[in-house]
């Protein structure tokens, strides 16, 4: 369970409490609409969450729901449900609202953890990731040979230096 909100938590009880205000609405100008022409305004939001919902998709996988809404949407994607350590982090993140760093930073961390999980999963399945292909280095070789050679030399030197440091420390 990622959050405890219910539809009852999201009621806007207007009750037209402003209708007795002196001057209420006298300067209303329908042309003063910064959303034009994007929005064909009909103020449907004022009726609340009352539209006839489409049929609801059957819940077959774990879906993490925003705490800012009362229910799952009528449809949703089912790809890649939360799993493993990254899934734990994602479930923690979804306890926070979308306006909170608590929501987004754990998700960023979860994505990085998920990347390592992906590599481990590949290896478990006997598939060693082909980094040359996955990073598009064939295209780099074809279109940007000079840069690739330069980067490769820099990388080789860096690795060499680290290896040298490591070996010389070991000797001492």
């Amino acid at each position: 369970m990622t959050d405890q909100t219910t539809p009852e938590d999201f009621i806007n009880d207007r009750q037209w409490r402003y209708s007795h205000i002196k001057g209420w609405g006298i300067d209303f100008d329908p042309k003063n609409d910064p959303t034009y022409p994007l929005k064909k305004r009909n103020n449907a939001e004022h009726q609340g969450y009352s539209w006839q919902r489409p049929p609801l998709q059957e819940e077959t996988v774990e879906i993490l729901k925003s705490v800012e809404r009362p229910n799952l949407t009528a449809v949703y994607g089912t790809s890649n449900p939360p799993i493993g350590l990254s899934g734990v982090l994602r479930r923690i993140a979804f306890q926070y609202s979308e306006s909170s760093y608590g929501r987004w930073l754990p998700l960023v961390l979860a994505d990085r953890v998920n990347m390592i999980e992906g590599i481990l999963c590949d290896i478990k399945k006997g598939h060693l990731p082909n980094l040359v292909n996955e990073l598009g280095l064939r295209a780099e070789w074809k279109h940007n040979k000079k840069s690739l050679i330069g980067k490769s030399i820099v990388a080789a030197v860096m690795i060499g230096l680290v290896a040298y440091q490591f070996c010389s420390k070991k000797k001492k």
Binding site: K39, W51, V75, Y76, G77, N80, E117, P129
Partner: protein, 383 residues
């Protein structure tokens, strides 16, 4: 089936054993993909900048295809129809869809309320598999997809699912008045299209600013606008003031979003440390370059985390900021007509056609701006 498979930042592969999509809802359709594009905003996913982008995801929100299966509730589509599928997933019934805000549907993304469902755009946008695959599940298929007219080239059709409507809406939101000077930041496909469409609203002068020369040359030719490399003009804000009687541009369009170059601090905080929703450099320039009382239109994509913007200047200058994901469904009838009338020729943007099997190379070429790449189309086998 064959599908693009995200493995982590800068790593993708073509997965030959991806599961076939299934009908999960009565208003679903399954579409066999004929063309899909890599969008500039896919690069934000590819670079690991969008939170909740899970390993194993298939990207792709710009695609067309042939309907091969429909759910029990589908009335407007039939098997065999060739359709362009808007990138927004929209129910057509909620308070927002009923006001034609199809990019803001309230019944397509349970995971975030700030954004509606988008194909292949992380779980922050609903966790849907995308169209860089042989087949894709299309929810609410009675609402979004539009049958491709017989006369239309598929390459034009695929660009009508995002690039053209987003560029057009950037200009539309800008409230351009006849004679206005419009400055577009970003000469990617969206910026180029925004520059082109600015003329349709009566712009008197259109200037596009970027740092990539080949894109600027393309923009100058395609959008018939002035093109300026910000590396050669010093401070872009001073440049814009200099060429606008010191008053500022009437309208500025941010068509860059979260990966803007040009400011070290923004790059560090937004792109490398991810402590804000991306690098806001283009938005800074837009706010500071526009005239008092001017309009800034944002179609560049930013992450959901807080971002540093000069909001004090927005207040003091009385700027209106307008932004949204394009409402593709709303705009399609008009844009199809513009294509038919030869006013917009979308397929000229396409520089690369790549087999889906070579998706990793395609991403790298687009991301690294190799081989003068403007727009890449992925072609699935048997398409």
């Amino acid at each position: 089936m064959l599908a693009m498979n995200y493995r982590g930042p800068y790593r993708v592969r073509a997965d030959k054993n991806a599961p076939l999509p299934e009908i999960l809802h009565p208003q679903d359709a399954i579409v066999r993909v004929l063309r899909s594009c890599i969008c500039g905003s896919d690069l934000h996913l590819y670079h690991g900048l969008v939170p909740d982008t899970r390993v194993g995801s298939t990207f792709g929100h710009e695609f067309i295809g042939e309907v091969v299966e429909v759910g029990a509730g589908i009335e407007s589509l039939q098997v065999g129809d060739r359709v362009m599928v808007p990138f927004n997933i929209a129910c057509g019934k909620c308070a927002f869809c009923r006001q034609e805000l199809y990019g803001n549907c309230h019944e397509s993304n349970p995971e975030a309320t700030a954004v509606g469902g988008i194909f292949g755009y992380s779980h922050t946008a609903g966790g849907y598999a995308g169209g860089q695959a042989e087949y894709v599940r299309v929810p609410y298929a009675d609402v979004g997809p539009v049958v491709i007219p017989d006369w239309m080239d598929p390459d034009d059709a695929v660009l009508l699912t995002d690039v053209v409507p987003t560029g057009y809406q950037a200009a539309e939101m800008a409230g351009i008045q006849p004679g206005d000077t419009v400055v577009v930041f970003g000469a990617g496909p969206i910026g180029i299209m925004a520059a082109k469409c600015s003329w349709l609203f009566g712009a008197g002068r259109v200037i596009i600013i970027d740092q990539v020369d080949y894109r600027l040359e393309f923009a100058e030719r395609y959008a018939q606008c002035e093109a300026v490399n910000f590396r050669s003009i010093g401070d872009p804000v001073v440049f814009v003031k200099t060429i606008t009687d010191s008053l500022g541009a009437d309208v500025c369009i941010d068509a860059v979003g979260c990966e803007a170059a040009g400011n070290t601090m923004n790059t560090l905080l937004g792109r490398y440390l991810m402590l804000q929703g991306g690098s806001t450099t283009a938005l800074h320039w837009a706010i500071n370059s526009v005239k008092k009382g001017g309009i800034v239109s944002i179609v560049g994509v930013y992450g959901p985390i807080d971002s540093l913007v000069p909001i004090g200047n927005v207040l003091n200058k009385g700027i209106s900021i307008r932004a949204n994901q394009a409402s593709v469904k709303r705009l399609l009838p008009k844009l199809i007509q513009h294509v038919q009338d030869g006013i917009i020729n979308p397929k000229e943007l396409i520089t690369h056609r790549v087999p889906l099997e070579e998706v990793a190379d395609a991403y790298h070429i687009f991301s690294s701006k190799l081989d003068n790449c403007i727009k890449t189309v992925l072609i699935p086998p048997f398409a």
